[in-house]
Symmetry: C2
């Protein structure tokens, strides 16, 4: 992108985008305007750094875009909301190929489209380290946000989505195996976005996006809600795959499943399975043993 200035690159990226139903004013002005139907907006932000959160030799630009969008869209779903918009901050090395930026924009656009959301704004600057900052906005449509603090003794614990796939995929990629469903799962997570609002309507009492590993993320619910969570490995294994270990299921991140608690007599929506129970006490246990351990993005220490 050395030969192209910031304005030209922004214009080029904007030309690849499409505006969905929630966009009141799209890209190109000082700021965008997005619908927030019930007078509130849900907002979250994530930063991805080349070599730490993605690797250009492992993933195409398109897949990096899909994955960067997914991480944020899943956070919106985990509040029980539907995503409406993304804003993208891009730090570009001077030697980044234009085709790479195009692919990234296409990936961001296409992942957002899964939620009917649009890329509405962004900023492109020069940086020695390729950096992608994504902000997602969402709409609760009148519902209360589903926080981490509402789990109650007597609730059950459910999960929707993949567990451990990305962690197992990372191990394969690190050992030189780049093809197959597990490496693909790391490159392109498949969060169950639509189930976020469905679970909120169904009465989920607490919900998180599994980005740092199931044990760590349910640990946030256990701590914020003041409860004990017991998981059963047999049920968890149904969310894994060939090559996914029990440790991957419990501590692998980056699949962006939704983990939630809900009243014990609730009927789980299609696509969700029960994996545990909530009781008085503290911390997360699997088959009776207290578990710890979190997630390391690509083996880095952040």
């Amino acid at each position: 992108m050395g030969e192209l200035g910031e304005f030209a690159l922004i214009a080029r990226v904007i030309a690849r985008l499409e505006s969905g139903p929630d966009v009141v004013l799209g890209p190109g002005d000082d700021a965008a305007v997005v619908a927030a139907s019930d007078g509130r907006v849900v907002a979250t932000t994530d930063v991805l750094v080349d070599g730490r959160h993605f690797r250009r030799d492992w993933s195409t630009a398109y897949d990096v875009g899909r994955r960067a969008a997914a991480a944020n869209l899943a956070d919106i779903a985990a509040m029980g909301a539907r995503a409406t918009a993304l804003l993208i901050g891009l730090g570009c090395p001077a030697d980044l190929e234009l085709a790479w930026a195009d692919g990234l924009a296409d990936g961001l656009r296409d992942e957002a489209a899964l939620c009917n959301a649009s890329v509405v704004g962004g900023d492109v600057v020069r940086s020695d380290v390729l950096t992608i900052a994504v902000t997602a906005l969402g709409d609760l449509n009148g519902r209360a946000p589903v926080t981490r603090a509402g789990a109650q003794p007597g609730d059950i614990v459910g999960v929707a989505g993949r567990l451990g796939w990305a962690a197992a995929g990372l191990r394969l990629l690190q050992s030189g195996v780049s093809d197959g469903q597990l490496p693909d799962a790391l490159r392109r997570p498949a969060p169950p976005y639509a189930l976020g609002p469905v679970l909120a309507e169904a009465g989920a009492t607490a919900m998180v996006d599994v980005s740092d590993g199931l044990a760590a993320d349910l640990g946030h619910i256990a701590e914020a809600s003041g409860v004990r969570i017991d998981l059963g490995l047999k049920a968890l294994r149904t969310l894994g795959a060939d090559g996914v270990t029990d440790d991957d299921l419990l501590t692998g991140g980056d699949d962006h499943a939704l983990a939630f608690t809900i009243a014990g007599d609730a009927t789980l929506p299609d696509g969700c399975i029960q994996v545990g129970t909530v009781s008085e006490g503290s911390r997360v246990h699997a088959d009776g043993e207290q578990i710890t351990g979190g997630h390391e993005h690509f083996g880095a220490s952040d």
Copy 2:
């Protein structure tokens, strides 16, 4: 920050923040929830990179935070909106001092407080290049957004805020002069946030935040509105200061003044002065001569 993990650093930063009146759900969950009173939210994002958009040997962490927030809060004001919330993505080198992160958080918080806005969320990751991505949200309170496309022949052009101060301050800092009002203006811009909504109420037909230089930013209005803009240097000079050249007034960025067009018979709000006129035609002219030239952040080419 090497000895502190991501969660610990986020918790430390959150502890320094305060939640204002628009925060429905503050930091600490998968996403925040912010009021959007009229069913729409204004959103913008900017990325600042160490050595390009700020220099740690020229500015304190606190001032970098003030300036990073200001750049985004001014974009919200330029739509005619009041800022409600900031989200911060921070890429931190391992050797960044904790006191620096604390200072940054304090600066972001205090600049946001000038708009009654709050830092509601963020992400902290490891990066070899200190990078600050800021997203600002805002509320139009029922008004139409003031875009770049509404200027009409017969309108006048007005400016609120400083012009050329930061550019002159940059020149002084580059020559080794670090004290004085001009270097301070680069370190800490003072956008006239409150005038954004006031100008929208007063009937501003187009408005921009002057971040890339007055000529370039009014050029966006001239192009989007299909009009010619004529500026008078005599009036512009009243917004400069000792040491600010005519070129600084026209092409200096980073002061984040508000530039706007409004009907010729409008009464300008206090704090605004008329600097030009709008007519049929194209491009921006000063004292009759067409001007070009934009802004270089710290001499970099982005």
